[in-house]
């Protein structure tokens, strides 16, 4: 069984990329592989906002991440990327504030790093 890290670089308004990383993560888990982290970087950090207000026919961003968190997936965001972009790092929902070094160590130990953007 392989170990993955996934990184997300696009903002939550990119619904298409969002559904893709979530489906990819679910496929990994379904096949018994390990995902050591999903890491929000660049504009991806805005996914950790707790203030989405989406109508019911829209992709439900927060619910998708919650569903991955419920499976004990390690959801991280880059703190310096967030601070520069105005994200409230005290309220990041299911995402854990982390340093870039933490992710780099996980990526170094992983078999595969797949970028989504």
């Amino acid at each position: 069984m392989a170990r993955f890290v996934l990184s997300l670089h696009t903002p939550p308004s990119d619904h298409d990329t969002t559904q893709r990383i979530v489906k990819f993560a679910n496929a990994c888990l379904a096949q018994g592989h390990t995902i050591d982290a999903i890491f929000l970087y660049q504009q991806g950090i805005y996914h950790a906002s707790t203030h989405f207000d989406l109508s019911s026919d829209e992709l439900q961003i927060s619910a998708l991440w919650q569903q991955l968190a419920d499976q004990k997936l390690n959801l991280m965001l880059c703190v310096t990327a967030a601070q520069k972009r105005g994200l409230d790092i005290k309220n990041t929902g299911v995402f854990k504030v982390a340093g870039l070094a933490e992710f780099a160590m996980l990526a170094s130990d992983a078999d595969k790093w797949v970028q989504f953007k």
Binding site: D14, H15, D16, Q19, S55, D57
Partner: protein
């Protein structure tokens, strides 16, 4: 009444660009301005029929594009060359749109007070 042109050049699911352009077009119509919407490059694919984004959880904004007719937004234009590039003809499109060559696009631009690129 002023002439406003909304230009779209992004692919259909590139962020919310097409939907932002749709909102902008509808709102200028709602405040009684003479609004036009020009699709070029991969944006012409936003007018392609039979797409079903709801199958992967995405909003079906093609339904909303169809409402342009209901709201009497009639100045919908597509770049003729871009249709060709993506192998589309007028029958493949969701709504009625006038195909413009480059010289007609120039004329359209020159007639505007405001041009916004979304």
């Amino acid at each position: 009444m002023i002439n406003v042109l909304v230009m779209s050049q992004c692919s259909p699911f590139d962020d919310l660009n097409i939907r932002d352009a749709l909102d902008m077009t509808l709102i200028f119509a709602a405040v009684d301005q003479n609004v036009s919407w020009l699709f070029s490059g991969p944006a012409v694919l936003a007018l392609k029929k039979h797409q079903q984004p709801n199958n992967i959880g995405l909003k079906d904004f093609f339904k909303n594009i169809k409402t342009l007719e209901i709201y009497d937004v009639e100045n919908i234009f597509v770049c003729e060359k871009s249709l060709l590039d993506y192998g589309l003809n007028k029958h493949d499109l969701l709504i009625e749109a006038k195909a413009l060559n480059f010289s007609q696009q120039q004329t359209l631009i020159k007639a505007q007070q405001h041009v916004v690129n979304l």
